[in-house]
């Protein structure tokens, strides 16, 4: 399953934010070093090479923050979880309604179950409408 590792990484990123930030920084610094070395090979002075590497890379801190934030994003598409929630609520409402119609009509529990069924159905309807 390809989502196992991203999920483990996601949990690790929330538990160890400092380590993740250090790891991202090390990776970005490696890139800058490689670019600086390539610029020196092209004939630039070390200072020019470093400046050019920094210019071509962009905003280091913004990129680092962006990478750290991506690490902390839940890897599973929320659309699927939401869909599961709707189906679960609809099943629950159906189950409650089924119990309600099978109880004797004179029973006070029947009225109670019918009210619960209406409440669950209304809740499912309102959640569904809000997400659209």
């Amino acid at each position: 399953m390809s989502l196992v590792k991203p999920t483990v990484d996601f949990i690790y990123a929330w538990q160890h934010p400092a380590e993740i930030a250090d790891e991202v920084e090390a990776e970005l610094r490696f890139h800058m070093q490689m670019r600086t070395s390539a610029n020196i090979e092209k004939g630039m002075t070390p200072e020019e090479a470093q400046l050019a590497a920094s210019d071509s890379f962009g905003d280091f801190d913004r990129i680092k923050t962006s990478c750290c934030e991506i690490k902390r994003v839940f890897p599973i598409d929320m659309k699927h979880i939401r869909m599961g929630l709707y189906i679960g609520l609809a099943c629950l409402a159906g189950g409650v309604a089924l119990i309600a119609v099978n109880l004797p009509h004179h029973s006070p529990f029947s009225v109670l179950w019918q009210l619960v069924a209406i409440a669950v159905l209304m809740r499912a309807f309102l959640i569904g409408r809000r997400k659209q």
Binding site: S2, E27, F30, H31, Q33, I63, I70, P75
Partner: protein
Amino acid sequence: MVTKAKAGLLQGTLDMLILKSLSAGPLHGYGIGQRIAQISGDELKIEEGSLYPGLYRLERRGWIESEWDVSANNQRAKFYKLTRAGRKQLIVEEQNWERLASATMRALRAN
């Protein structure tokens, strides 16, 4: 609205190029940038920093995975490689891109 659609297209293109560059084997971030420039005949130059958020997004989706290793110049570097899901996604992206490119060309050539 136009800006959003344009940004989406560019991001999707970068994702596809990253996947394509890794199809030949594992590379570190700098190597991926170099490889994209090489396979596009130096026609495509991406802002180097923007590559990394792209890499992290692809890793989160499970299309690539990474591990720290030693680079050719004996430095610790993070190497990325395609997962099986990533290979499948690359095929899908290539097909989508070909369809889009041929449809655009047809539209441009229409009288």
